[in-house]
Each structure stands twice: as structure tokens, then as C-alpha cells.
């Protein structure tokens, strides 16, 4: 990787300070271009251009764009939490089930309260958020304190949350959702045709970006994923941080659950079996490394739109939509391949950069981590 383009002598002598705060001669533009999120954005643009040329009337219009964005909104909220989790080199398979479970509990709470008012809706939202939080804490404690690998913990909670949701509902979807919630949130628009759900997703994504990239919480998220031991040695409370990250993913899953109720008016218990994998694929396509330490929420959002646009475009241009799965699978593998190549060239010496998938076995010290 050609990161070192500046003159080494200059940077090393204190008497001649290096140019521009030591950017190593690499401009912002150069660094952006090298980002996987940016490269994947170009791929997305190409896809959009191709479909727009093939179907200028049916694909490239506001209504269609609006429906693509709307369909991606809830996934984007899940993607924010998943990006944090994967940056720590963890994984959360439970998001779809937690979403369903939280939706069920939220719906039950709203039925118990009764009525069709905003008050009822807010009770439902609060209950769903709290339910998601509880699952997230459950995951986080088991991963950070009991040292059970994230893959196993969240696979377990995936089954538990889904099973409990079915037990509570006896397998029958709840369809009683306050009208105000469906009208104002689910079908609501602001400034004309902008879906409320999308606005909510944009706000969550924006907050996620700020927190991940500009706050100490975000910095610790990268540090834990990059080298847990080094974070521990400088006093980062790694266990507590991991719990918070999984709790965040849980809360956002709970939020997604209640937003789904608003959008579709049903708990759709059986409808989220692919959600976890779709979101993980988006996160990875967007350049977040499964090995931790690297990733952006912007990339995740771009990564969500690739499958969404492909699906939509294939239908419109009359290609069997099953091709979407094939195409997304190929993009996913390509993205991980690019990440591997990147890390192989970046990992010079330093066992700390050696691949060690956390969700295989959570490492408590570099000595113990097998791989």
C-alpha cells in the first residue's frame, strides 16, 4: 500500500516540520478514494446508472426511488447497531428475532393500555426499546463476562427470542396496532413525499455516524476491535464497552421492531429470518472488516442499497429477481476478498494485526487467542 509518499528525512527532523499536520503527503481526497465505502459507492452508482439507462421511465423516477429508500429504512437502523458490533470484531445474529420479540411485546403492551392515541403509541415504543435493550444486555453480559463467543451467544438468543415470541403469540401474528402509529409513522410523510420512517432512519444513521467517528465511545469501539489487549492495558473498560455495544444493537433492534409494526401493522413473526444475514452482508459490503477495527456506518448504508437497488431494478427490467441473490452473494464475497487483500498488505509484522475472528472465540489476551 503506497501510504508513504512524503520525504522521510523531512518528517524525522524536528527542525523542518512536515507539511500539513503530518498527513504523510496523502491528501484527504486520496484517502477517501482508498476507502472501501467510497469504492462501493461507485459500484452502487454504476448499478443505478445501468438501470436508469435500461428503464429510464420505470426505474429512474421519484416514486421508485422513494420506495427503495423506504424499504431500506428499517434495515439501516439495524445496520447502525451491527456496524458497531462488527467493528468490535463481534457479530449479532439475534437482531431479527429481537426485532420480532420486541414488536410482539410492544404490541401486547399497547393492547393492554388500549386506545388509539399517541399515548398508547409511546407506551409501545418505550416497551419495545426496553425489550430490545434487555436482549442486548443479555447478549453483552454473556459475551463480555461469561466469555461465550458472540456467534454462539447471539445464535442462542436468536432462537430464544423467536421461540418466546411464538410462545407468547401462540404463533399467530398480532395485527392490532394503534391507527395513529400506522398513519403518522408507518405511512406518514414530511415535506410532501418524504416518508417519516426514512427521516427517522436518517436521524439514527446521522447520530450513529457522529458517535462512531467523533466520540470517545466510538474511539473505544475501534480500539477494542483493533487490539483488545492494548485497550485493556491503557485502562479502557473493555468488558463494559462490549456490553454497551451489544446493548446498543439490542435497543436499535427493539426500535426496528416497533417501526415495523407501524409500517406493516403486524408483528410478522416469521418474516425476519433473513434480516440478520442481510444486515451483516450490508455491513461487510460497506467495508467494515469482520476482523474488527475498521468500518463506517456510511459504508453500511451504501451496502444496504446495493441489494435493494438490484432487487428493484431486476424486477423492473424484467430479469428474474432471483438473480439479485446471486449478484449480492458475489458482491459480498468480492468485498471480503478486497478486505483480505487490504489487510494482508497492511499487516506487516505485529501479531496484533493477525486475523483472529472474535466471534469464533472471544480473546481475553493475545496469547490465548487461537487461530
Amino acid at each position: 500500500m503506497s501510504t508513504e509518499v512524503s520525504t522521510p528525512e523531512k518528517a524525522s527532523t524536528p527542525s523542518s516540520p512536515p507539511p500539513d499536520e503530518g498527513n504523510g503527503g496523502e491528501s484527504l481526497v486520496q484517502r477517501v478514494v482508498k476507502m472501501q465505502a467510497f469504492q462501493i459507492l461507485l459500484v452502487l452508482l454504476v448499478i443505478v446508472i445501468v438501470f436508469s439507462t435500461l428503464a429510464p421511465n420505470n426505474f429512474a423516477n421519484f416514486g421508485n426511488a422513494r420506495s427503495i429508500v423506504l424499504n431500506a429504512s428499517i434495515l439501516a437502523i439495524l445496520g447502525v447497531g451491527m456496524t458497531f458490533v462488527i467493528v468490535t470484531s463481534g457479530i449479532d445474529l439475534s437482531i431479527g428475532s429481537v426485532m420480532v420479540f420486541s414488536g410482539v411485546i410492544g404490541a401486547k403492551a399497547m393492547i393492554a393500555v388500549g386506545g388509539d392515541s399517541w399515548g398508547t403509541a409511546f407506551v409501545g415504543i418505550g416497551v419495545s426499546l426496553a425489550t430490545g435493550l434487555a436482549w442486548g444486555l443479555f447478549n453483552g453480559f454473556l459475551i463480555a463476562k461469561a466469555k461465550v463467543p458472540p456467534l454462539i451467544v447471539t445464535l442462542g438468543s436468536l432462537g430464544m427470542a423467536l421461540g418466546l415470541a411464538q410462545i407468547i403469540t401462540k404463533g399467530v401474528d398480532i395485527r392490532e396496532v394503534p391507527q395513529v402509529m400506522q398513519d403518522e409513522i408507518g405511512y406518514g410523510n414530511v415535506v410532501g413525499q418524504l416518508p417519516v420512517l426514512t427521516v427517522i432512519a436518517v436521524v439514527v444513521v446521522a447520530i450513529g455516524i457522529v458517535v462512531l467517528h467523533h466520540t470517545r465511545f466510538g474511539r473505544y469501539t475501534y480500539a477494542v476491535g483493533s487490539n483488545e489487549e492494548s485497550a485493556r492495558r491503557v485502562g479502557v473498560k473493555v468488558d463494559r464497552h462490549l456490553i454497551k455495544v451489544y446493548a446498543l444493537s439490542g435497543v436499535l433492534s427493539g426500535f426496528a421492531g416497533v417501526l415495523f409494526l407501524a409500517q406493516f401493522g403486524t408483528t410478522a413473526i416469521a418474516g425476519q429470518t433473513q434480516t440478520n444475514l442481510n444486515v451483516i452482508a450490508a455491513v461487510v459490503i460497506g467495508g467494515t472488516s469482520l476482523f474488527g477495527g475498521v468500518g463506517t456506518i456510511f459504508g453500511t448504508v451504501v451496502g444496504l442499497f446495493i441489494p435493494a437497488v438490484l432487487q428493484n431494478g431486476f424486477v423492473i427490467v424484467g430479469i428474474q429477481p432471483f438473480w439479485q441473490q446471486v449478484a449480492v452473494g458475489a458482491v459480498l464475497i468480492a468485498a471480503v476478498y478486497v478486505d483480505q487483500v487490504r489487510r494482508a498488505s497492511a499487516a506487516r509484522g505485529g501479531k496484533s494485526t493477525r486475523p483472529s475472528l472474535r466471534f469464533g472465540a472471544k480473546k481475553s489476551s493475545p496469547v490465548e487467542q487461537g487461530e
Binding site: 499536520e21 503530518g22 504523510g24 467523533h214 485502562g235 479502557v236 497492511a346 506487516r348
Partner: protein, 252 residues
């Protein structure tokens, strides 16, 4: 004078292996003590025990003459003890400034800081100064340290430790990966830090560097201190002999 840091009878076993076997150690403020010994003598283990990274089975640690349990790296840091580990312990995906301030981020003033926003500019500026003082070849303050050479990473780890240490710095083979000029820089840094009144513990297998920079030498063999020399009164031959067990004496 009371030593700034003293260990008495530290013992630590790893299963069958006795890494520390009732070893003593002492360090005065404002001196450089070289800690030498063969591979596996227990040097790194001793450093870990004294910097809050390893619990010992028995023995006691005195800081400024007072018994202390240095049981976490945070305790060590709060006492002004910093360590450059043999494996460096940097986060490879973070840049040099982020590594330097990891766990001790400078926050923005006021509400923004309370909300968790960091003052990246100030951190980068201070990091730049620290690297310049060390004469470290850190080409980019915004590239991940994982992409840098072993020597550059070592310089970053040293700059970080020196920046935060007010009482004691442990340097576990700090010059192992360094070029000639960078080694000279590190040895200069060690002297400068010592002249500021900080106690420096310097671990190295290079006897010329040990002789050049240290005030005293303590020799570990099989987990115990077998000798202490004044550097001015010893020789490379004597040090090597003591390390390998050919000769041995205990002097002050």
C-alpha cells in the same frame, strides 16, 4: 534515599514454570537501571508484575517506600508508571495520535466534551510534539500504526510511555527493532527522561547499550536477581558471565 519502586521476594509460577522465584528489585528516582538476563530469565514477567499487568503469587511491591498493590495498569498509570511492552501493545487500526491518547483522550471543553466529543486537534498537536522530541520517524499522524514499520511502531510506543510517565518508565527491549539513528534517539530519550527525575528501567540484550545508558545493572537468572552492579564499576565480560551463571556476586 528511598527507592521510588522496590520489589521484595516476588514469586510467580505458570504451571510448572517458575517465572519469578522470590526476586528483588529496586529503582531510584532519576536513575537508569538496566535489567538483563538470558531469554526466559523473567525480565518481562517482572515488568508485568510491577506495571499492574500480572498478579504475583507472593512478595510485595513498595512505591515511594509505601506498600502498594499495583494490580491494574490503571493503578500503575495513576502512580506515574508507564510501560513499553515487548509486544508494544498498540492498536493497529488506530493512528499514532489516537494510540498515544487511548484511554486518556483530551475532550472538547464544555458541553461537547461532556457528550463525549474529543479534541482531536489538540491530541494530534501534542502527539506531534512528543514524536518530534523523540526524533521519531513518524511519517503520518493519520495512518493506522499497523501500516508502519516495526521501528516506527516502537518509536510511537516509547513516545507514548515517556509522554505520560512522571515517576517510572519500563522499556522492555525498546531498541530491538530500531535502526542506528533511532537507537541513538531512544538512548538520548532515556537520559533526558532520567534527568527529569524519572526512574527508567531498561531491558536489553545489547551489552554496549546497557553500558552506555545505565547507572546500575541488575541481573536476573532463572527468576531471581543474582547481582546488582554499578555500571561504572563493571564490564561487559562480568555482566555476560553473571547472566549465564559463569560468575556471580551480589554487590550494591
Amino acid at each position: 534515599m528511598t527507592p521510588v519502586l522496590e520489589a521484595r521476594g516476588l514469586t510467580r509460577k505458570f504451571g510448572q514454570v517458575t517465572a519469578l522465584d522470590g526476586t528483588d528489585f529496586d529503582l531510584e528516582a532519576g536513575e537508569v537501571v538496566a535489567l538483563i538476563g538470558d531469554n526466559g530469565a523473567g525480565k518481562s514477567t517482572l515488568v508485568k508484575a510491577l506495571s499492574g499487568n500480572l498478579a504475583v503469587d507472593s512478595g510485595e511491591i513498595l512505591f515511594d517506600g509505601i506498600r502498594r498493590d499495583i494490580d491494574t495498569p490503571m493503578t500503575a498509570s495513576s502512580l506515574g508508571i508507564e510501560t513499553v511492552y515487548q509486544d508494544l501493545a498498540l492498536a493497529p487500526h488506530l493512528d499514532p495520535a489516537q494510540n498515544m491518547f487511548l484511554g486518556r483522550e483530551l475532550m472538547k471543553p464544555g458541553v461537547a466534551g461532556a457528550l463525549g466529543f474529543m479534541d482531536n486537534k489538540a491530541m494530534r498537536g501534542q502527539a506531534r510534539q512528543a514524536f518530534d522530541r523523540l526524533g521519531a520517524t513518524v511519517r503520518s499522524l493519520v495512518s493506522p500504526v499497523g501500516q508502519m514499520s516495526g521501528g516506527q511502531r516502537q518509536a510511537i510506543a516509547i513516545a507514548r510511555a515517556v509522554h505520560w510517565a512522571s515517576k517510572v518508565v519500563f522499556l522492555d527491549e525498546p531498541t530491538a527493532a530500531l535502526g542506528v539513528r533511532q537507537t541513538a534517539n531512544v538512548l538520548d530519550t532515556i537520559r533526558r527522561v532520567r534527568d527529569q527525575g524519572v526512574g527508567v528501567v531498561f531491558i536489553s540484550h545489547s551489552m554496549p547499550h546497557v553500558i552506555e545508558v545505565s547507572d546500575r545493572v541488575q541481573v536476573l537468572r532463572m527468576g531471581a536477581r543474582v547481582a546488582t552492579y554499578k555500571t561504572s564499576e563493571t564490564s561487559m565480560e562480568e555482566l555476560v558471565g553473571t547472566m549465564t551463571g559463569a560468575t556471580g556476586r551480589t554487590a550494591a
